[in-house]
């Protein structure tokens, strides 16, 4: 049951455009004590059906720039091969530490974004007052 609730929360965050994947992995790994590598592969499987709908809708709306998609995903697949090679060498504790650092970077980035948005909103509100 708890897995369904975690998936539900990750789904909400994904659709709001925040890192649902990071949320899913850290909840599964550090709160449900599931093996970190299994948590990661679960996130991969989770991503495919939940994003498929978004991809189809965007193809229909002709929103996708396919030239960019071809280049980035071609080199992305090469990078993914290297990444999966690394994961087989690294042990779980090191991987967890790397993941934690990655979460910290996302958090700092989000705070930075938040401040930027706040300043932008304030400026806009001041302009509206003057008018």
């Amino acid at each position: 049951m708890i897995e369904i609730i975690i998936g539900f929360m990750a789904g909400i965050f994904t659709s709001l455009g925040m890192g649902g994947g990071a949320l899913l992995i850290s909840l599964l790994s550090s709160f449900c004590h599931i093996n970190h590598k299994i948590a990661q592969s679960t996130n991969l499987l989770f991503f495919i059906p939940t994003s498929l709908l978004a991809v189809i809708i965007n193809i229909k709306n002709k929103n996708i720039d396919f030239k960019i998609v071809v280049i980035i995903s071609f080199f992305g697949i090469i990078g993914a091969v290297l990444g999966t090679m690394c994961i087989q060498i690294i042990n779980i504790n090191t991987l967890k530490k790397i993941f934690a650092l990655f979460l910290l970077i996302i958090a700092i980035f989000e705070i930075f974004n938040f401040i930027k948005q706040y300043k932008f909103d304030k400026k806009r509100d001041n302009k509206n007052k003057n008018i």
């Binding site: 093996n35 929103n63 995903s73 990444g83 990655f102 910290l104």
Partner: protein, 122 residues
């Protein structure tokens, strides 16, 4: 000349995104989206659409590479996916009704990230 430069930039970013999604299985989109908006100067909606399409292809292949290493738990994945489909459906509905005014959720998200990062580093 400028075109060559852009293609070069895209291939480098593609490599980085692929490496991160292979190693950490998440966060590729968080690197790619700012690049698409600020680097490639795409509009918000186009950048989001292109990002999700790239990530779909990259994650699809990553999970094929992963499946060789026997790290899959399909029962767990199906449970999460069931919750995830309901969650993303409700989230999208909510987004359309209230607009992108989700400051409160952002606070929770940042707090949660910091908390679980420190928990894992300990």
């Amino acid at each position: 000349m400028k075109k060559v430069y852009f293609i070069f930039l895209q291939s480098i970013i593609g490599m980085i995104v692929g490496f991160v999604s292979g190693l950490l299985a998440s966060g590729g989109g968080m690197i790619l989206l700012p690049f698409a908006i600020y680097g490639l100067k795409l509009s918000q909606s186009k950048a989001r659409a292109t990002t999700i399409c790239c990530m779909f292809i990259i994650i699809f292949f990553t999970s094929i590479f992963y499946s060789n290493s026997n790290n899959f738990d399909y029962g767990l994945a199906i449970k999460c996916i069931l919750g995830g489909i309901v969650g993303s459906f409700l989230g999208t509905e909510w987004l359309q009704k209230k607009g992108n005014n989700s400051n409160f959720i952002r606070y929770i998200f940042i707090a949660f990230l910091l908390y679980s990062a420190f928990r894992m580093l300990k």
